[in-house]
């Protein structure tokens, strides 16, 4: 006699169905006995007692085991095939009853179509965003609000409601996140690794994650919170939940906190929570000065570059260079009466980082972003002395795409600054990644190529690329294109700012 078994994984059938199949295959030609059972150890023992199996077939209790005894191997196989076909036969007609599927017009319709979705990305115009976010939380979904122009009252109400429901609201104005390896918004393609990031700063998150990637390390999760989360009115609701999430995440060994200036009392609370996770904490809270030497267990970084370096070191990686240096190329001298820096950022955190670094180094720094030691521009459309601009500010983006996507606004400003005889250095960022312009340097080429070269008495063009080789635009390709245009290349924003300051100080 010949015997055979087959295991059908993750198959559940009631006893009626199994007995019917057992009976049907027993009637097949050449079959003596057949049984379909849930493969509990006790049932396997009974099959052995019945002589239908000899060895342990390796089946588990939630699997169906088909056991056949027949006159020939061919009959065994035919019976096993017939039983499996019967088990897998789909009694279900899921055709929508002939009703054509409708296009998805609401979050709830999308959830019906993809029931295990747990996350909504909202990128509607600001006035509609809060309502959609409330609907999402009501539906039990976490939220990433790419949209800006949401009132702080709505933000507080939304985050409070979500937190009570065990959900997280990233945003509003959350431009970047990397969740379970999926880049969202303006995120870069970085390696997966053990460093978790919580950031109230989109480009800050991008810069640190790209530098971590460049050092050969990776990111477990990168959670954007929205720029106002560490405001006293919001109280770090999302940051606290994100820290708890990373604290419980076995794939995260190091926690990095990044933000533009936080409310000091809120910063103190979230830092204590981060330390309580027991994991190494790196804090780059620009403009925040902890009391004394700060909390034990926290490494305080003054720049994004330093934050990445500390995170890589804490995770056991190594970086090629310690932070603090200048560009490798010789520094150019300034032409004529050119004496002022004009920094034109698409990334808001880059702008703020530059202001914190330059505040004590250069006199008369003006900006559309308020910061200690800097003066607010009366007219952001016209530069005054040293000017550092966040071109992603609402003032510039209302009614038009963000400058990471549409370079026309910045191109115009580059041309205007180049024509100004006071302009000594034009500093700019190029941000790669999903969501950004598909070829940003090509988009800037008309403006950059129109600037008189430094050798011809023009200003110094100084730039850096925030991106990775994995980004769709390609880091090396963008850097090469910038070099071809005569741009002095830095590795990151902090290095670019130090270099700009050195060039200007050299001239003095």
């Amino acid at each position: 006699m010949n015997m055979g078994t087959r295991i059908i994984a993750d198959m559940y059938r009631d006893s009626v169905a199994l007995m019917k199949i057992s009976s049907a295959i027993t009637l097949l030609d050449g079959v003596n006995q057949a049984s379909c059972i849930m493969a509990t150890p006790a049932n396997l023992e009974l099959l052995r007692e019945a002589g239908l199996i000899a060895d342990d077939p390796g089946a588990r209790p939630n699997e169906v085991l088909i056991a056949v005894e027949a006159e020939t191997d061919a009959a065994v196989n035919a019976a096993l095939d017939a039983a499996e076909a019967a088990l897998r036969a789909d009694p279900v007609v899921v055709d929508g009853g002939g009703v054509a599927s409708e296009p998805l017009r609401s979050i709830e319709m999308a959830l019906d179509a993809n029931v295990q979705a747990n996350f909504t990305l909202i990128a509607t115009p600001g006035p509609f965003a809060a309502a959609e976010a409330f609907k999402s939380v009501q539906l039990g979904l976490n939220v990433m609000m790419f949209s800006d122009n949401v009132t702080i009252e709505d933000e507080l109400a939304l985050k409070t409601k979500a937190d009570q429901a065990g959900l997280m609201v990233m945003g509003p104005d959350c431009g970047t996140a990397i969740i379970d390896g999926s880049p969202l918004g303006f995120a870069n393609v970085v390696r997966r690794g053990t460093i978790g990031i919580v950031a109230a700063s989109g480009t800050g998150l991008q810069q640190v994650s790209c530098l971590i990637d460049a050092a050969g390390c990776g990111v477990s999760q990168a959670i954007g919170t929205g720029g106002r989360d560490l405001d006293r009115n919001i109280g770090g609701i999302t940051t606290k939940r994100a820290i708890a999430t990373l604290g419980a995440d076995s794939d995260t060994d190091v926690i990095v906190l990044i933000s533009k200036p936080p409310a000091p009392d809120v910063a103190a609370v979230v830092l204590e929570l981060a330390v309580a996770t027991g994991k190494p904490v790196v804090a780059c809270l620009l403009g925040y000065a902890p009391e004394g030497s700060g909390l034990a267990g926290v490494s305080y970084a003054r720049t994004l570059e330093q934050a990445a370096f500390m995170a890589v070191t804490a995770s056991g990686g190594t970086t090629a260079a310690e932070p603090g240096g200048l560009v490798a190329a010789p520094l150019p001298s300034l032409n004529g009466d050119r004496q002022y820096l004009r920094a034109l950022y698409s990334g808001g955190t880059f702008c703020y980082e530059a202001l914190t670094m330059l505040g004590g180094a250069l006199d008369g720094v003006h900006s559309n972003t308020s910061s200690a030691n800097t003066q607010t521009l009366n007219d952001p459309w016209t530069s005054t002395a040293h000017t550092v601009l966040d071109l992603g500010d609402d003032l510039f983006t209302r009614g038009r795409p963000h400058p990471m996507i549409d370079h026309r606004l910045r191109n115009d400003r580059i041309m205007a600054e180049a024509e100004n005889p006071d302009t000594a250095v034009i500093l700019f960022d190029v941000v790669l990644g999903h969501g950004s312009h598909e070829d940003p340097v090509a988009a800037m080429t008309p403006a950059l190529s129109a600037v008189p070269g430094h050798a011809n008495g023009g200003p110094v063009l100084l730039g850096f690329v925030c991106g990775t080789e994995g980004d769709p635009q390609g880091l090396a390709r963008q850097r090469a294109a910038m070099a071809d245009l005569g741009v002095l290349l830095a590795d990151n924003n902090a290095q670019a700012v130090r270099t700009a300051a050195a060039i200007l100080e050299g001239a003095q």
Binding site: R13, D14, S15, V92, V94, L111, V115, L167
Partner: protein
């Protein structure tokens, strides 16, 4: 189509959980939520479905047939009180469902022994006279066409149940566990017959237990079963967990009550239990009768005779 759930189990995860459909019948679905360690829940759309542990009851139109909408293994997700089924126009709204409060304590038939014994004998007669050879009850009949697996199962039942009842009567935990462990997980189907039998057996023992020694014995037997529940299906594991906390199907507890008080509607109460699943109700009723019989030597003899194991009857251990 969104159906409204009227009652749901305690500690049911109504906010965010993913899961899958495990088994699907025309008006009943078993679903697992929240990963391997999460609860298994029965969604029951039958009219006048009895209260059962781990069961959510709902209002559904007459024509609804889950088995034509959902295939086993289909993903599903709970979001903010609504359970949606992937790829099917089907969702269950738990937001206004009442949480089932399980009554504490069971009827103790042994407190009026005469009535209990008469009720038990009535119920047993009804049980053995109902012609259906499925599950463990096949051991009470003779079927020469039985397949080898079924024959092996019947032999085990005939060998084991009498010893189990006697061990339970003696509150001999090692001996009882040795017997029960031979029955657990046996039988085809999503809840193997041995598991349904055990559930009924626990209820019967608990109803008949009227001293600390018997309670401790039952507790030990239940804990041992739970510890081994990983050797059975997820649905069985869920049933045992409910049984360990004293939660049983309302139909089963109504049958205990009917036996204890020898109610006029005993036949109807038994029929309602027998209608549970294919053989599940019958196996649970069998276990219940066996568990109750442990309290009375005279009743044990009925079971032992019926299983045709005369040597135990001829030389009773007590």
């Amino acid at each position: 189509m969104r159906l409204t759930v009227t009652d749901m189990p305690e500690r049911f995860p109504t906010h965010v959980a993913n899961g899958r459909a495990m088994s699907v019948f025309s008006r009943v679905m078993n679903v697992a939520l929240g990963g391997d360690a999460g609860p298994v829940v029965t969604i029951d759309a039958r009219h006048d479905a009895p209260l059962s542990p781990g069961t959510a009851r709902l209002a559904a139109p007459d024509g609804i047939d889950f088995s034509r909408l959902v295939r086993p293994g289909t993903g599903l997700a709970m979001r903010a009180g609504i359970l949606r089924v992937q790829g099917a126009d089907l969702a269950f709204d738990f937001r206004n469902a009442a949480t089932m409060k399980w009554p504490d304590g069971a009827t103790h038939p042994t407190r009026n022994r005469a009535k209990f014994k008469a009720g038990w004998v009535d119920a047993w007669a009804l049980f053995v006279d109902t012609p259906d050879p499925s599950g463990f009850a096949a051991a009470l009949t003779s079927d020469p066409q039985m397949c080898r697996f079924a024959r092996a199962l019947v032999c085990r039942v005939r060998d084991t149940i009498p010893e189990l009842i006697c061990a339970a009567a003696d509150t001999n935990l090692p001996a009882a566990w040795a017997c029960l462990s031979r029955l657990l997980g046996t039988g085809p189907g999503l809840t193997p017959s041995g598991d349904d039998f055990a559930t009924g057996f626990f209820l019967g023992l608990g109803a008949g237990a009227d001293n600390d020694r018997q309670q401790a014995f039952l507790h030990g037997l239940t804990r041992a079963t739970l510890a081994q529940a990983c050797d059975s299906t997820d649905v069985s594991r869920a049933c045992f967990e409910h049984a360990a906390t004293g939660c049983f199907s309302a139909s089963l507890t109504a049958l205990v009550d009917g036996i204890a008080n020898r109610t006029d509607d005993l036949a109807a109460r038994l029929t309602e239990v027998l209608m549970m699943g294919h053989s599940s109700g019958r196996d649970a009723a069998f276990g219940l009768m066996c568990g109750l019989s442990a309290a009375e030597p005279g009743l044990r003899a009925h079971v032992i005779d019926a299983l045709d194991i005369t040597y135990l009857h001829e030389t009773p251990t007590r």
